[in-house]
Amino acid sequence: MADNLMEYKCPHCGGVLEFDSASQKMKCPYCDSAFDVEELKGRDQGLDQAPPAEQPGAWAQGETDHMGVYTCKSCGGEIVADKTTGATHCPFCGNPVVLTGQFSGDLKPDLVLPFQVDKNAAVRGLKQHMSGKKLLPRLFSKDSHLQEVKGVYVPVWLFDAQVEADLRYKATKTKNWSDNQYHYTETEEYQAARAGTVAYENLPVDGSSKVPADMLEALEPFDVAKAKPFQTAYLSGYLADRYDLTAEAAKPRAEERMRRSAEDAFRSTVEGFSTVETQSARIQLQDSRVRYALYPVWLLHTRWKDKDYQFAMNGQSGKFVGDLPVDKSLLWKYRAIYGGIIAAVIYGVAFLVSHL
């Protein structure tokens, strides 16, 4: 059984410390002692070394292929976790544990964005998210049961790149005027060209297959300026995963967004025309650099009519996302109301015009 597991014990009472998003300090939930995260930096010294090799355990061969088995330092209970799990809670004593082997050597993140909003804010966020939605089934907010609220550090790849672009456009200027006899339209056609560079930094791409990529992108932006150099202490009390999608696998998504954005940036410099049409675009990414970071996300899970609904909140800004169900009977009701009003207006206007 691998034994690369860390707990942050309170030096005063022996309780397990957790990261407190409100004070941005490590706090003991038993004696309320608080410690600066910086003070616990020494505990991560071994992380720069290669991750420890798996040791043979009592489990049968193949049985733990996708799992890691750890021993809780507080109660001795056996913690069975997914191979990518980096921080979790002991299922027996409930103490938060950090599986340091998931963040050592090449797996060590460069940055971590600490949580800034707590679990209560996430629950409030869900209520706000549901309020004012006219097509939400009336019973959804009442009958749906909040199954789980978990604070998760999601692994992301942050890409920096310089984009070199060479674009050609067909542009037109149109002028209209009239005299007593004719309406005139004059169209001037131009060939425009733009070339240059543009730089992007800290573009995030989801590094975990467990959190849907579109959900993480919907939570953007995260303020990377508030990121800290990685310390396992920030993970205490939360769940964390290490990446299971490599930087190479994530790179095409970053390039796609940078290319589209660069095209828009250069296109916006072709001004003073009535129409602009891109004829050719040669866009290359250079000096690409990637860093590994952990982003704070609150994941909420509800169940209604045997269907699961997942919501997420940006653990830094509080931005809340998640698709809500649509009540089809309400949808047709509103369509009938709006349709009836618009039909009456159309008929009324036509009636007035015909009698003028």
């Binding site: 005139y184 543009v198 919907a218 932006p221 015909s354």
Partner: protein, 246 residues
């Protein structure tokens, strides 16, 4: 003296006899260019009149220049007299200009501005294609339709057709989808980001080349549709006219 009086009496009687003949035999179609099928045009115009006392006529001339409005009025007066009720299409093919002249009771609404635009649109479409025969026939066809409506006690452009009810309902149903679509989108917030604009390094856009070359210039023109409707008094009738260039 007696002879003179007799001669005057004879002339007066002859005049009285001639006038109805003149009114009945006045041509409904005249073409001094000689390029149109006069028989077909006259037949179409006569048919358009639906056998009523409302004259439907057309005149095609090749005399470019001058006041087309005045020429049309003059042609109508000389051909039918100032008190005749009727409608005339006067077409100057060389000046590429036309007038539609209506002489009718002041309270008659058969040829109201909307109805005249309906006729004008059909005529102008043919004239723009240099289809003068088609222009005259379209004129006859549309005037005939308006006179049919009059016979049914209806007036073109007044009142709503029953077709407007399903039309308005369909329009309402389609347009009602827009606000409901917006409400539906409110329930969907998980979307991929398409752009990387939030991650653009400020001031990093550097243009090493920015050129624009003139390639060509193209000019199109289309005639101004002159819908200048004029309403005046002509004899015992009200005269309405529309027209324009084609």
């Amino acid at each position: 003296m007696k002879r003179s009086c007799t001669a005057l009496l004879v002339l007066l009687l002859a005049g009285l006899l001639i006038l109805p003949v003149f009114a009945q035999t006045a041509p409904v179609f005249a073409d001094d260019t000689g390029t149109l099928d006069a028989a077909a045009a006259a037949e179409a115009l006569t048919r358009a009149a639906r056998g009523g006392d409302f004259t439907v006529a057309a005149a095609v001339t090749g005399n470019a220049g001058g006041d087309v409005q005045a020429a049309a009025e003059s042609w109508f007066d000389l051909t039918y007299g100032p008190n005749t009720r009727g409608i005339l299409l006067y077409l100057d093919v060389n000046a590429r200009e036309y007038r539609i002249l209506v002489r009718d009771d002041p309270e008659a609404e058969t040829f109201n501005p909307k109805a005249l635009r309906y006729v004008q649109k059909a005529v102008e479409a043919r004239l723009r294609q240099n289809d003068f025969q088609g222009g005259v026939e379209a004129f006859a066809e549309k005037v005939g339709e308006l006179l049919d409506l009059k016979a049914q006690g209806k007036v073109y452009g007044k009142g709503l057709s029953l077709l407007w009810i399903p039309g308005a309902l369909l329009g309402g149903f389609l347009l009602g989808g827009l606000p409901v679509g917006g409400m539906k989108r409110e329930n969907r917030s998980v979307r991929k980001q398409q752009s990387a604009v939030d991650y653009l390094v400020p001031g990093s856009v550097i243009l090493s080349r920015s050129t624009q070359q003139f390639v060509n210039r193209k000019q199109d023109r289309r005639p101004v549709s002159q819908n200048n409707t004029s309403v005046t008094k002509a004899g015992s009738n009200q005269q309405t006219s529309v027209g324009g260039k084609f």
